[in-house]
């Protein structure tokens, strides 16, 4: 079974972001970028499926500028066999990303597609579900366990209040939650080998997808600063403030 993994280049999660002075967007110049943490978990799961003999080939795909190839090389170093880069300098919203991925799915015919549950930049949590809808496939979102049994997939999902297990007919789409696995680090020899693995570059036009969105980003601003609080001297004072001033208990 071929497994397709979608990865996204995002700002490194340790970076404290800055909003541009003109409020047009977040300032990404000279900021450290990395693979989205949930995508790392997706790559790890695909590689583990290969190690178990379930997956025969792992294909990593990304959509974004030229520099996003760094993240594809990372995926290759972690164990993906080959990569596909859909290169575009435009801002790609989730719907367009899902349409592009649906075309890749149509071309590649994977048995399973794994994505992160959300990207830590836009925080949308949409692409996997949209891809499932467009490709006409079932979805196992927020997965904390994935078991392939013949032509079925058992997915344990993290839902509000606990866990839910669903059975999906393959091919299917899975999005990863934090508990699914602990991603490995790329080893130096693998990073060197990854440079020789195949990486195809396509454009949205090649795939026949219009990237433009009907969503307009009007403004990006910093969240309201919290007012400076006070220090209390004792537990009694704290309880009193919470009861009588803040009225939260």
């Amino acid at each position: 079974m071929k497994v397709l993994v979608a990865v996204k280049r995002v700002i490194d999660y340790n970076v404290k972001i800055r909003v541009k002075a003109d409020h047009s967007d977040v300032d990404l110049t000279n900021v450290k970028m990395a693979m989205n943490p949930f995508c790392e978990i997706a790559v790890e799961e695909a590689v583990r499926l290969k190690e178990k003999g379930v997956a025969t080939e792992v294909v990593a795909v990304t959509i974004g500028p030229k520099a996003a190839q760094e993240q594809l090389r990372t995926a290759l170093a972690l164990g993906a066999d080959r990569a596909i880069h859909v290169e575009t300098e435009e801002r790609v919203e989730s719907l367009a990303a899902a349409k592009l991925l649906a075309k890749v799915v149509e071309e590649e015919q994977p048995g399973l597609v794994i994505l992160g549950k959300q990207a830590i930049d836009t925080d949308n949590n949409q692409t996997g579900q949209m891809l499932a809808a467009l490709a006409g496939l079932p979805q196992g979102t927020f997965a904390s366990e994935v078991v392939v049994e013949g032509d079925k997939l058992q997915v344990t999902r993290e839902i509000d209040g606990g866990l839910q297990t669903v059975e999906l007919t393959l091919p299917a789409i899975v999005t990863t939650d934090l508990r699914l696995n602990e991603p490995r680090y790329a080893k130096l020899p693998d990073i060197m080998k990854a440079k020789k693995k195949p990486l195809d570059v396509k454009s949205p036009a090649d795939l026949g997808v219009e990237v433009a969105s009907k969503l307009t980003l009007l403004k990006v601003e910093s969240p309201a600063e919290r007012k400076g609080g006070i220090k209390v001297g004792s537990v009694d004072e704290l309880v009193d403030k919470l009861k009588n001033e803040a009225k939260v208990i």
Partner: protein
């Protein structure tokens, strides 16, 4: 304008999140219908009909909608969406699972986790784990939106909307429910709790997290943790509050032995009231705390428990 709100419900009861979503719908303006889909959901429909501002409750009561699996729920909503300008759901795991399917099938974008309605086409939502607020305008004919409950005050009860049934039965051959394991705890779920008490590296060990239990019981609070506490192996990572963990915005957040790293603040700084208990008075957590108490948590926690 007419708005369809997908009701959130569990175990035959309407979830509180729905009243917050109706509030967001009222801010958009227009007729508000609520869709209750599931199996044996009569009581849920009755509860939804009482929400202030609801014109009509539409009920799809069928075994295919049990457990609200994404595939049949998406198909149902797509059938109904044609009558509406907006489709809204709470940004819960159910809403997040189902709505993007609806948006994609209707070939429109989805706007996730709005916290403010500017006008019927324009919404504010947090991005970069709440470190920036984006204002986005949609030119799509249908707006598909998930609502962050903490951004809107719940509407009151007092309405008496008409209840009508929906006969659409989606077919689903692709997915089926196997089992569900809900947390045994009587405590509320972390992301939905009104009060959260979290421990950090300062707790010293997993055993010491028990010091939070009594306080959590008295306040009806959920217990969370910082990434440092999770990485140190004190608690499992589903308790993690922060940028890569859960984003919470309770009425009251009590941070115990948590220094207040950026990644942690990203997950809780929209809480209404923040209390910090830490022995280091220079800890960054005090910069966002409404009430700070400097001292040894091993003395403070038992005292706090006894005085609540």
């Amino acid at each position: 304008m007419s708005i369809l709100v997908l009701a959130e419900h569990h175990d035959g009861q309407l979830a509180g999140a729905t009243a917050h979503v109706v509030a967001a719908a009222k801010a958009i303006g227009g007729d508000i219908d609520v869709l209750v889909a599931g199996e044996n959901v009569g009581a849920v429909a009755e509860a939804a009909a009482k929400l202030d501002g609801v014109s009509k409750v539409r009920v799809a009561d069928n075994a295919v909608y049990a457990h609200q699996l994404a595939e049949p729920m998406g198909a149902l909503l797509v059938e109904l969406a044609g009558d509406y300008s907006h489709v809204l759901a709470a940004a819960t795991t159910t809403g997040k699972n189902v709505l993007p399917r609806v948006a994609a099938l209707k070939d429109v974008s989805q706007i996730s986790e709005i916290v403010e309605v500017v006008d019927a086409d324009t919404f504010k939502r947090p991005i970069y784990a709440g470190n920036a607020i984006a204002t986005v305008k949609s030119a799509d004919s249908l707006k598909v939106i998930t609502v962050r409950s903490t951004g809107f005050d719940a509407v009151a009860e007092g309405g008496s909307a008409a209840v009508e049934s929906v006969d659409i039965v989606a077919d689903n051959s692709q997915s089926c429910f196997v089992k569900q394991e809900l947390a045994q705890s009587d405590r509320p779920e972390l992301a939905a709790a009104k009060v959260v008490i979290s421990g950090g590296r300062g707790m010293g060990s997993g055993e010491n997290f028990k010091l939070l239990d009594g306080i959590a019981d008295k306040l009806g609070a959920a217990i969370g943790a910082s990434r440092a506490a999770v990485d140190a192996g004190f608690v499992p990572n589903d308790m993690q509050v922060g940028q890569t963990g859960k984003i919470v915005a309770p009425e009251l957040y009590i941070a115990v032995g948590i220094s207040g790293a950026i990644q942690h603040l990203a997950g809780m700084k929209d809480s209404k009231v923040i209390v910090a208990i830490n022995k280091d008075e220079e800890a960054p957590i005090f910069q966002v705390a409404d009430y700070g108490l400097v001292g040894d948590l091993f003395e403070i926690l038992p005292e706090l428990e006894s005085k609540l």
